[in-house]
């Protein structure tokens, strides 16, 4: 402030008198300054806003003496309080309300110590530290340093300030310049000091303190390893240690003595923040311990992501990992992002290109010449392969970001996930359009012949010959999946009101059907290519699949039918996945790094995951089959739930709240807004949607008639007429409407039965077939088989279920996390399905019967209790909270 070039003039009197000449309400202000801004100004002297304001007689200085003698229980008490505060910080409270309220931490970090030796509660100490202070200091050093590391990890990734986490350090230096080793040495020597005191302070308390030091040391080590990227197995070790140390800590309760005066909100006034003083966040020790233990176990699970098997398992891992309730803490979510994308190297060893090519190969083009890495080696500009390499590179560049974004988005908090997915589908839409152009260029290069295929299941009853358009098909598949997620997350996040559920589940079913149709199309082309391959390579193949036999089995009975025409199972002569530590490339060909350098690829090797084209095809077909299975379950069950709500609303058991300020149509517009920007699939018209929500289209159909039910277009045409009928029916009397309702009931019962059947197949999937291989769970919503054994190739569902497990050599492999998470998801799902089945048999049936008997709504309500649960309640009941199945109980009263 005192600068020789600057002169300060006292203008107090003149200023104040000048102000007095102004009239009330008149102001003098800078033209660029708006009073609107002034609203945000901090009012000095207002104790609610001005953190620096002192009450009369209050001093700023903390009176607590950091040099006082501490007893062992007191040190323990302070450390425990610090642990609680640290956890509160992880949970999203600012440092100012958590660990920076500690007098000891403040003394340690302010002013910022240049060296470790300098970092002490009392600077330039004349007398040696007493042993207890040494312990506390070592602990605090470790704490501050871990916070710095945690902060750095979080800041490097995508997270939402305030929403998830507050990264503000209020200009406090968290010792990130001090070596972790040195701090760990301090902790170690503090432990020695502590043990020398054992006789004096007692064994238990020595143990208790020692565990806490251990915890800190392990935490530091864990963060260090993540930074240095040791082997995945070693990364887990310190987290496991921390977890077990916590167990030990909890076995020694009640030794601590609280020292509340060592924490003060006054310290906030010294922080670089305009925030007024806020209370210290208090978390009970037990609660903190619970969160801490979950943090450790979540971290252990997260690290398992490095165990990469295939792109779809990876996606499933992230998807199901993040779907946990409660969701992992923000640090863990950022850690997962860090492990996934650090320096644009996926999982520390894969380039984006490798993962994307793997994904393309699984989804749309197994063993396809477009994916041949050797294309990159061709230098002749007239060669088709040169052109292919060029176009593919263009495509990869175009799609890499949106592909990676899926993973990134899934690592956000749940509300954000939905919101960001809404944006992401627009990007995918664009990628799909661009991919269509590239597809058309490529199909000329590879001289593809158009193919007519027959779909047995869905709207399309056959088609004009078409091209496979693999790249845009891939993009479309992802887009559809994201759209389903958006709707599903809407249920999870309770975006929709109970009376909207019928319509939204119908829309979900609509999307799932569209996905199934699309996958069928892909499957037809893949089967065709596969049969060409086999006929060209050998004549031993048992059955040659013709396009028309690419059966896809939504009709219930055909779930058990072999969706792929008897593909001879090719035993994995080579390990499908290399054991960890092996180079990724199996049949890798070294490729010129420069040729792979586009699209963020950094790998020096390209690879084919599939050892043989046959294996690649098998893997892809398994994936396609399970995707159809997944889509089928989704649509059947969505239909079920939709109809349940339709019945309930018909019987006035679920009634909409009064909504004077909007119409259903307006609300529908809002619900569909995210999907409006997408050209395909088109958003159904309001009339169509409303018709389905009212059960008009569905009810009119011969119950259970799959074919009838799926005619989207037709249904639309009928709508008007049936709507008319419906009204007439109501006029005519109860009789007709009631019949329709009972149709609906029958339909729902059949749909749920089919969902259940399909489900049994799903449950039987091994981790490879479920594409849940590797670190963790795969999941329901994308149960995608990989190169796995031919589960449903032949025979009954039962054998498929039984055979899947045994046929899969790696399935039971311990320590992989298995597909435990996937299984848990499936079992929740199952409970939801069973609940729907039960209420259809009991409560809803009863209600429909009573309605048929001409009872009034009031009378029905006496007997049948209906409640639409919150999504948390669904979770607590063990259900899947994407499926808000209502509670319908029959109360036998009259």
């Amino acid at each position: 402030m005192s600068n020789p070039g600057i002169i300060a003039t006292n203008i107090t009197k003149k200023f104040l008198s000048a102000c007095k000449t102004l009239e009330t309400g008149e102001i003098v202000k800078d033209g660029y300054f708006t009073l609107f801004e002034a609203v945000g100004a901090l009012e000095i002297g207002d104790p609610k806003m001005d953190s620096g304001c002192l009450a009369p007689g209050e001093t700023l200085e903390e009176t607590y003496d950091v040099n006082r003698q501490l007893s062992a229980p007191e040190v323990l008490g302070i450390i425990d309080q610090l642990l609680c505060l640290e956890m509160a910080w992880h949970l999203g409270y600012p440092l100012a309300q958590t660990i920076l309220t500690s007098v000891y931490i403040e003394a340690l970090v302010e002013p910022a110590p240049a060296t470790l030796q300098e970092a002490d509660f009392v600077r330039n100490r004349k007398t040696p530290r007493d042993p207890m202070t040494t312990v506390l200091r070592a602990y605090c050093l470790g704490l501050v340093r871990t916070c710095a590391d945690v902060l750095e990890t979080i800041r490097d990734e995508l997270y939402y300030e305030e929403e998830d986490f507050v990264t503000n350090t209020y200009r406090r230096n968290l010792m990130d310049h001090i070596d972790r080793y040195e701090i760990r040495d301090e902790i170690l020597s503090a432990k020695h000091t502590l043990h020398e005191l054992r006789a004096e302070i007692g064994t238990d308390i020595t143990q208790a303190l020692s565990f806490r030091l251990e915890l800190r040391s392990a935490f530091l080590r864990a963060l260090e390893l993540i930074e240095d990227r040791g082997s995945p197995d070693s990364l887990q070790i310190p987290w496991c240690q921390m977890h077990s140390v916590w167990e030990a800590i909890l076995k020694l309760p009640g030794l601590a003595k609280e020292v509340p005066e060592a924490f003060s909100t006054k310290l906030q006034r010294k922080l670089a923040s305009s925030m007024p003083p806020r209370p210290i966040v208090t978390l009970s020790f037990d609660e903190a311990a619970k969160h801490f233990k979950k943090l450790c176990s979540d971290a252990i699970d997260a690290i398992k992501i490095l165990d990469y098997h295939d792109s779809q398992s990876l996606l499933n891992f992230v998807f199901h990992y993040q779907a946990q309730k409660p969701q992992p803490l923000v640090y863990i979510r950022c850690l997962l992002q860090n492990l996934l994308f650090k320096d644009m190297v996926l999982l520390d060893r894969l380039s984006i290109r490798q993962v994307m090519d793997d994904d393309l190969s699984i989804a749309v083009m197994p063993a396809h010449e477009l994916l041949d890495p050797n294309n990159d080696l061709v230098e002749a500009p007239h060669s088709a392969r040169f052109a292919i390499a060029h176009q593919m590179e263009l495509f990869r560049k175009r799609a890499a970001q949106v592909y990676i974004d899926i993973f990134r988005v899934l690592c956000q908090n749940r509300c954000r996930v939905r919101r960001m997915l809404c944006h992401l589908i627009q990007d995918w839409e664009q990628v799909q359009l661009d991919a269509e152009d590239i597809d058309q260029l490529l199909q000329i290069q590879i001289d593809e012949k158009p193919l007519a295929y027959q779909s047995q299941t869905t709207l399309t009853t056959g088609s004009e010959p078409g091209y496979s358009l693999p790249l845009s098909s891939w993009a479309y598949l992802y887009k559809l999946r994201l759209m389903e997620w958006i709707v599903q997350l809407g249920f999870e996040l309770e975006v929709y009101a109970p009376d909207e559920l019928a319509g939204m589940y119908w829309y979900l079913s609509h999307l799932a059907k569209t996905r199934a149709q699309h996958v069928e199309r892909i499957q037809a082309f893949t089967n065709h290519r596969f049969s060409e391959l086999r006929s060209s390579s050998s004549s031993t193949s048992s059955t040659s699949p013709s396009p028309s036999s690419s059966s896809n089995p939504p009709p219930p009975s055909s779930y058990t039918k072999p969706p792929i025409p008897a593909t001879p199972w090719i035993p994995p002569t080579q390990p499908y996945h290399p054991p960890r530590g092996w180079p990724v490339s199996i049949s890798s060909s070294l490729s010129d790094p420069s040729s792979t350098s586009g699209a963020g690829t950094t790998g020096t090797t390209t690879y084919h995951y599939s050892t043989t084209p046959e294996a690649a095809f098998t893997r892809s077909l398994t994936y396609l089959r399970s995707t159809i299975l997944d889509a089928a379950i989704t649509w059947e069950f969505a239909d079920t739930v939709s109809v349940i709500y339709t019945i309930l609303s018909r019987l006035s058991l679920v009634t909409p709240p009064p909504r004077p300020y909007g119409t259903d149509e307006q609300r529908y517009e809002v619900r569909m807004k995210p999907f409006k920007a997408v050209s395909l699939p088109e958003v159904p018209s309001y009339q169509t949607w409303k018709g389905h929500a009212l059960g008009i289209g569905t009810g009119g159909v011969n119950a259970g008639g799959k074919a009838g039910k799926r005619e989207g277009e037709e249904g639309e045409g009928k709508e008007g007429k049936e709507g008319g009928e419906e009204r007439q029916g109501e006029e005519k009397g109860e009789k007709e409407g009631e019949e329709k309702t009972s149709h609906l009931l029958k339909f729902a019962q059949q749909a749920v039965g089919q969902a259940k059947k399909a489900f049994e197949v799903l449950e039987g999937l091994g981790e490879r077939e479920a594409f849940a291989a590797g670190g963790g769970g795969g999941g329901f919503s994308s149960s995608i088989p990989s190169s796995a054994p031919p589960t449903a190739t032949s025979g009954s569902t039962a054998t498929a279920v039984g055979g899947a497990g045994s046929g899969n050599t790696r399935q039971e492999e311990p320590g992989k996390g298995g597909h435990k998470r996937w299984m848990e998801n499936v079992s929740r799902y199952r409970r939801s399905v069973e609940k729907a089945e039960r209420i259809l048999k009991e409560g809803i049936k009863k209600a429909v019967e009573m309605d048929a008997e001409g009872r009034t709504t009031e009378e029905i309500k006496q007997v049948v209790k209906v409640k639409v649960p919150r999504s948390e309640e669904v979770w607590e009941q063990g259900g899947h909270w994407w499926w808000i199945v209502p509670d319908v109980e029959v109360v036998e009263s009259t």
Partner: protein
């Protein structure tokens, strides 16, 4: 410069007063308040009750523990004890007129000289932000 070189304004000098206040806009002021703190920031706005709005303000607090410094600061300019001041960035602040004990204007020495030499610098080249004017 502890002396106020100018006289006070009387109500009839209203236009002069307003002009003068306008000339201060965007200059750096040091405003001391009753609890001993001092705020330093760009002057943006003032009203009849001397409620002052400062932009990009910093809070300076004199060490309460040592009374010696306080006596030192009250007698001479605050600048001399700079090293011991603890500062905090606050951003936009409103200082209610009722708490104000002292207002100081910061200027470059060259500006002061120019004013003393010539008369009435009609315009103010805000030194922090060349952009105003």
């Amino acid at each position: 410069m502890s002396e106020d070189p100018n006289t006070t304004f009387l109500p009839e000098d209203r236009d002069d007063a307003t002009d003068w206040l306008n000339s201060l806009l965007n200059k750096n002021l040091r405003v001391s308040v009753t609890d001993g703190r001092m705020f330093w920031g760009q002057f943006k706005c003032v009203d009849a009750e001397s409620n002052i709005i400062l932009h990009s303000a910093y809070e300076y607090r004199f060490p309460t523990s040592s009374q010696a410094y306080e006596s030192a600061t009250s007698s001479s300019s605050a600048g001399k004890v700079k090293v011991d001041l603890t500062s905090r960035h606050l951003g936009l602040v409103v200082i209610p007129g009722q708490y104000i004990t002292k207002i100081e204007l910061e200027e470059f020495a060259s500006q002061v000289r120019a004013r003393n030499r010539g008369f009435g610098q009609g315009f103010h080249p805000g030194w922090r932000d060349g952009g105003i004017s």
